[in-house]
């Protein structure tokens, strides 16, 4: 036993020794084109300005490694890019550091951060950076005649044959089934709150279940569409934009029934570099950087003062406005994320969704 004790302590000592590091900050984000835009707009100027090295890591959904790391007492990331509902939930569980909005930089004209951010973008433990949507995109070369144009068309495999791509989670599938089934966008959560509504959503999903390819990481839907594995898929609008405008892929976006959400930066309790993390968070959510990101990807900035600065894509000719999920036209039938609803019903619906998936 003695040897074991000594051995363990020795091992632990070595482990700790390996911990000592230079100034750096580990940011966990969503990978792909989105990560690229953050590297360009935040990381590079941040490293240049402060000399702090930024390590970027990708996760399918950074909220899960965050929670796992905090619960295991093994936090390796400093800043996590997470969705609003996760930010609220994790804050409730005591996993996040609280952030005082007064410490955030004001807008260039001096407006304090609290008034400059769009309502809802500042939370107790997290600060939003962008608005994003998950609309439907399709491959124009796969439909010679009439082209799909609504959420209902997505579920109409008789009229528009071919595989569909959907995310492997209940959040962005159930609502779409209800929209396609004729539920108005503003009544989605009311319907999903009742067992009948949930049954109705699953019944609608059942109609295309055998034609669905499920995706998990944000870059997958674009890849599935480009490879011809699916003819239509939902996915992050910024990545579709990247494929369409950046790489010239023949895709078209259906904005009907897009799901809108915010991404927020949060710092977990017990992060290895808490000071550098806060520095990074403040820098990345400043007016200029937020506007800068819109140059690389079609997501709407969370500060009012940034919106005015949004101009052209990095190619220098594409106007970003019409590609933003926050465009007025696109907002008409959009479903906004309801963090309270998902904090309450997320686990339950996920369980039912998984059991539904596993049943053949």
């Amino acid at each position: 036993m003695r040897t074991r004790l000594i051995l363990t302590t020795a091992l632990c000592g070595l482990g700790l020794a390996a911990q000592a590091q230079n100034q750096e900050v580990n940011v966990v984000s969503w990978g792909g084109a989105y990560e690229k835009s953050q590297v360009q707009a935040y990381n590079m100027p941040f490293a240049e300005k402060t000399g702090i090295k930024v390590n970027m890591m990708a996760a399918d959904n950074p909220a899960t490694p965050l929670k796992a790391q905090v619960e295991a007492g093994n936090v390796t990331g400093d800043v996590f890019d997470i969705e609003v509902s996760d930010a609220i939930r994790l804050c409730d569980e005591g996993a996040l550091v609280e952030i005082d909005p007064a410490t955030l930089p004001p807008a260039p004209d001096g407006t304090p951060a609290e008034q400059d951010f769009i309502p809802g973008a500042l939370r107790e433990c997290a600060v939003a950076n962008i608005f994003w949507g998950t609309p439907i995109a399709f491959d124009t070369t796969k439909f010679s005649g009439e082209k799909p144009s609504t959420a209902a068309d997505f579920f109409d495999t008789a009229k528009f044959p071919g595989k569909r791509g959907l995310p492997k989670n209940p959040k962005r599938t159930l609502y779409l089934a209800l929209i396609a089934d004729g539920v108005a966008p503003d009544q989605i959560y009311e319907a999903l709150g009742t067992p009948e509504g949930v049954d109705r959503a699953f019944a609608k999903l059942d109609t295309i279940k055998k034609d669905v390819v499920w995706w998990e990481a944000g870059a997958q839907p674009v890849q599935l569409l480009a490879d011809g594995e699916v003819v239509m898929t939902t996915g992050y609008n910024g990545r579709f934009f990247d494929a369409m405008v950046g790489e010239g892929k023949p895709f078209e976006i259906i904005w009907d029934g897009q799901y809108m959400d915010m991404d927020m930066f949060a710092i977990p309790k017990g992060s290895p570099n808490p000071e550098a993390a806060l520095e990074y968070l403040k820098f990345a959510t400043s007016t200029e950087q937020l506007a800068n990101q819109a140059k690389y990807i079609a997501y709407g900035p969370s500060r009012k003062s940034s919106a005015a600065l949004v101009g052209l894509y990095e190619d220098g000719k594409t106007e970003m406005g019409p590609h933003m999920p926050t465009n007025e036209e696109h907002m008409k039938t959009a479903v906004m994320d309801d963090p309270e609803f998902w904090a309450d019903h997320g686990a339950e619906l996920t369980e039912r969704f998984n059991s539904w998936l596993a049943a053949n």
């Binding site: 074991r4 051995l7 569980e93 390819v213 499920w214 309450d344 059991s355």
Partner: protein, 433 residues
């Protein structure tokens, strides 16, 4: 090993011969029997000391961690640690006691404290495992309780949400008030507890694990059979060819064995995609039309094909080493006695290959049951195995107790198979090329 070369032999040859009492003695005058015992004890200790460092290493880095993880399958103090007053009330009052004023006061006190300490989410999550849909009950009550709850507590809390009066909820909270529970094992076999605490089947739409265990078992059987079907002819060919040529062909078996698992899985993804090589070839040959491309990946087919390929060497190698030792003259003798080649194969050759077949099949089955990487990448949703569900609970739903319970069941199955393997084949006979 020859007797004369035994390590104790030296002592015997040096022995001084029998003394008066008739006992053999060594050169230095100790009784031979005693000396032999000592010497063999020393030899045993020396052998054991050589193994000890590794044994300790494996115990610390492997056995203890798994034991520690399995402990989570019965232990979850998310509720009991964060709701101490209510847990204490449950311990003092037996099952069946109606919640009295003290209980509601304890609940109010704990809700307030947990909301302040930001642990209310943890409490809700714990209860939500046993009673889906209650997480929100706790988080919203916590949010309201933060500003204070005034007596009478029962009315105040019921006003927040009528669900607080649900006897099922109180039954579940009672279960959770002890840090130890068997509920995760129940859930792992699609069972749950009703209001009285009796074990009943889970609602049909939430039954999933038994189905997944069955699927894992069934797919592993199919894969084992496929490896047998493909491995047997190859092993036979290798065993009957002259050594030089069979060694050359053996490389074709060993190369996949040495190639990275991820490389092989990627290769299958590339081959089996709808726009992949296999579909392209089939379209080009005119077997299928361009719009009837086969779906061979992201489903069970993908899992079976890729895993058969990956596990095939584990079948071929033991079969080959057994077939090498089969004397061809038996078959020849059977033929000369009038057996057809089929009869000779069935009655004479095949029975002799059974030890290799058993070893290979068991090994393939054991490895297949616990596979994770390949089904995760090519299995889609219908080709997932129980390992993938464990991984999902570990990394996505973060229901670690559930993951541990499923892992314990899987581990128990694998260990039984491992024991059978050791009995029938012997671990010493495990060969790697």
């Amino acid at each position: 090993m020859a007797k004369a070369l035994d390590p104790h032999a030296a002592i015997v040859t040096e022995a001084a011969g029998p003394d008066e009492g008739g006992t053999l003695r060594t050169a230095d005058g100790r009784p031979l029997k005693q000396a032999l015992v000592r010497s063999s004890r020393r030899a045993r200790r020396r052998a054991f000391l050589l193994v000890l460092p590794l044994l300790l290493f494996i115990l610390i880095t492997f056995v203890v961690p798994i034991g520690q993880m399995l402990q989570r399958s019965v232990k979850n103090d998310g509720f009991s640690a964060n709701m101490p007053s209510l847990s204490a009330w449950f311990h003092e009052n037996p099952r069946g006691t109606e919640p009295d004023d003290a209980a509601w006061a304890a609940l109010a006190e704990d809700l307030q404290a947990a909301a302040k300490a930001r642990t209310i989410g943890v409490v809700g999550t714990r209860i939500n495992y046993d009673m889906p849909g209650t997480r929100s009950l706790f988080t919203s009550a916590g949010r309201k309780a933060r500003s204070g709850v005034e007596p009478p507590y029962k009315e105040a809390i019921l006003e927040m949400d009528q669900k607080w009066g649900d006897p099922k909820l109180w039954s579940v909270m009672r279960e959770a008030s002890s840090p130890y529970t068997s509920n995760f094992y129940l859930a792992a076999v699609d069972r749950t507890r009703d209001e009285q605490g009796d074990i009943v089947s889970a609602p049909a739409q939430q039954q999933i694990y038994v189905k997944l265990f069955m699927r894992t078992f069934w797919l592993s059987l199919v894969i084992t059979f496929m490896t047998f079907l493909l491995g047997f002819p190859i092993a036979h060919l290798l065993a009957t060819l002259p050594m030089r040529r069979s060694n050359l062909l053996m490389i074709l078996v060993l190369l996949p064995f040495w190639t990275s698992l991820l490389v092989r899985t990627t290769a299958w993804m590339v081959l089996l995609q709808q726009q992949g090589v296999v579909n392209d070839v089939l379209v080009w040959l005119g077997v299928i039309g361009n719009n009837q491309r086969l779906q061979m990946i992201f489903n069970q087919t993908g899992t079976i094909i890729a895993m058969t390929h990956i596990l095939l060497p584990f079948m071929i190698l033991p079969l080959y080493s057994v077939m090498r030792t089969i004397n061809p003259s038996y078959v020849r003798a059977a033929r000369s006695l009038g057996a057809t080649s089929w009869t000779a194969f069935r009655r004479i050759y095949f029975p002799q290959t059974l030890p290799g077949l058993g070893a290979g099949a068991l090994l393939v089955f054991i490895l297949a049951v616990g596979y994770y990487i390949t089904p995760a990448l090519v299995g889609g949703s219908s080709g997932q195995l129980i390992s993938n569900m464990i991984a999902m609970h570990m990394t996505q739903t973060l229901n670690w107790s559930m993951a541990a319970a499923l892992a314990a069941l899987l581990l128990a199955g694998v260990l039984v198979l491992y024991w059978v393997y050791d009995r029938l084949v012997g671990i010493d006979n495990l060969k790697l090329g």
